[in-house]
């Protein structure tokens, strides 16, 4: 029972990592907390739903079609809104994206109404097929989502580490002024980063639609989960965010085991614990290295 909850929590954590990845990437690279993140994910879920429905395609093909659309939306978002708001201080992007979230939510409501939708009917058997391992039933779809999360975060990590574009993105994040003096076009890099972030949003929105249902106002909870996973994992690295997603899901499952309504509460509690710990302790406390070196020191003393 407990092992089953743990396994299901890790699979759910894969989805949280997926949705948190774009939020964390944007925060890391552009220093913007995009409060429209969840709403944009829902927007892409609707786009995938529309294309899948209209062209009778598999959702996995439709998501490939909306990737470039979301990339363009990301570029426009950067050029039209974020670029101007970042000039007005740190608070302004938060307010603007908050407003944008409301606009997107209500436009979606106006267009698609209050009905909930899901992409799972277009999947056929895949939506309930499972692997049976040691008396555990593991859904194929959550496994696909988890693998997608690992592949996406791994891919972004490799791009950031080993490509020229990745070096330019990291340099711009570290010190935009000096990046300009080295010849990096910070504006272009910000546009590309926003486009990449929106592509991850497209994938996570699709994953949401495949796993369950969504409606026009589903964006808020998605933003909340993404934000909690990002804070738990620490904004320093994308793999941290992946761990953050899994820790959040485990905390929610433990909450649900304790009390039927404890699912969200468990997650919030874990988020608050990490938030205060991050404020009051040195950041080293969260790295594996810190604990390993402590362990070694204790050994030396003995």
């Amino acid at each position: 029972m407990i092992i089953n909850s743990l396994v299901q929590a890790i699979l759910l954590g894969g989805y949280y990592a997926l949705i948190a990845c774009g939020l964390a990437f944007m925060f890391q690279v552009m220093r913007i907390i995009n409060l429209a993140h969840g709403s944009l994910a829902i927007l892409s879920a609707y786009l995938v739903w529309e294309i899948t429905d209209a062209l009778a395609l598999s959702p996995f093909i439709s998501v490939l079609m909306i990737l470039p659309i979301m990339a363009i939306i990301g570029l426009l978002l950067q050029r039209v809104i974020l670029e101007r708001t970042t000039k007005g201080g740190e608070l302004l992007p938060v307010l603007t994206t908050f407003g944008l979230a409301i606009v997107i939510d209500n436009l979606l409501f106006q267009q698609f109404g209050a009905n909930t939708r899901s992409l799972s009917p277009y999947l056929g058997d895949l939506s309930w097929e499972s692997y049976e391992i040691f008396d555990l039933w593991i859904g194929k779809l959550p496994v696909i989502v988890l693998i997608t999360a690992i592949a996406m975060i791994g891919g972004l990590d490799l791009i950031l580490r080993f490509t020229h574009l990745g070096r330019q993105i990291r340099a711009t994040a570290f010190d935009p002024d000096t990046a300009g003096l080295v010849g990096i076009d910070a504006r272009k890099i910000a546009g590309i980063s926003a486009a990449i972030a929106m592509m991850t949003v497209a994938i996570s929105g699709t994953a949401l639609g495949l796993r369950g249902t969504f409606d026009a106002y589903s964006g808020g909870p998605q933003l909340l989960f993404a934000f909690e996973a990002t804070i738990i994992g620490g904004v320093g690295s994308l793999w941290g965010v992946f761990m953050g997603g899994i820790i959040l899901a485990i905390a929610q499952s433990i909450g649900a085991l304790i009390h039927p309504q404890g699912f969200l509460l468990g997650g919030h509690l874990m988020f608050l614990i990490f938030l205060f710990a991050r404020i009051y302790f040195h950041r080293d406390v969260f790295s594996l290295k810190h604990w390993l070196s402590k362990f070694n020191k204790e050994e030396n003393v003995v």
Binding site: F174, L181, V182, D185
Partner: protein, 239 residues
């Protein structure tokens, strides 16, 4: 090559650079001298495009670049080694150097030649620049600027915080650029070194240029007077 006309740079109400004009020709080696707060770094950062200009103009290779972003100026061949080195500390030496190739200007400089010029960097190639010594960091910063194959290299206080021995090494490596025909504008606090290294000295005081002469026509005393503002008051007394 570089022409600055009536340049004014302000921080709010404060005029850090006031009505500065200067011409630098191809192949010139020019030293910019002045006390702390005289506006040297502000002037250089404005020339490189890292600070907005209040009034006046900067043109580079007969093109007006006053409103051009810094990255475009690097592409045109103007590179600044900023004061305090400003390396990307969480990246390795090699990554910092590779960032210099962003603008894809062709020329003699490539990563191997940087390591030949600064042999002290070879064993540090894969170390994070935050962990390097001051001299190694400075070499990386100069190397990063050189990787863009600049026509005009601007060096802001490259000897700041370095031991005299390391300063000698850094200057020895910059010296090799002279032969290659690179135009150099540098800030140097050591007057003797500035006079011996460059062909021309420009002295700034309180945001204004108070002296601009070939180094062969001037001497340490005259520059020192300009440096402390004695130059002007003497003139006023004389008149």
């Amino acid at each position: 090559m570089l022409s600055v006309r009536n340049l004014d740079v302000r921080y709010g109400q404060f005029r850090a650079v006031q009505d500065v004009s200067m011409e630098i020709a191809q192949g010139d080696i020019v030293s910019l001298i002045g006390a702390n707060g005289a506006g040297k770094s502000t002037l250089l950062r404005a020339i490189a495009g890292a600070l907005p200009v209040y009034s006046g103009s900067v043109s580079f290779k007969q093109q007006d670049v006053t409103q051009t972003p810094s990255s475009t100026r690097v592409k045109q061949g103007l590179s600044l080694v900023p004061e305090g080195r400003r390396l990307f500390a969480d990246m390795t030496v090699e990554e910092n150097l590779l960032l210099g190739t962003t603008v894809k200007r062709s020329g003699d400089w490539n990563i191997d030649r940087i390591f030949e010029t600064f042999p002290n960097l070879v064993k540090r190639r894969h170390s994070k620049t935050g962990h390097l010594s001051g001299g190694e960091q400075q070499a990386t910063a100069i190397g990063r600027a050189l990787m863009s194959n600049p026509d005009l290299l601007i060096l802001d206080e490259v000897s700041l915080g370095l031991s005299p021995l390391v300063v000698d090494q850094v200057y020895a490596s910059i010296n090799s650029l002279k032969g290659a025909g690179t135009t150099i504008l540098l800030v140097e606090q050591d007057l003797g070194r500035a006079i011996s290294f460059s062909q021309r000295a420009i002295c700034m005081l309180e945001g204004k240029v108070v002296l601009d002469k070939p180094t062969c026509d001037t001497n340490k005393e005259e520059i020192t007077q300009a440096y402390f503002g004695l130059h002007q008051s003497n003139n006023q007394e004389a008149s």
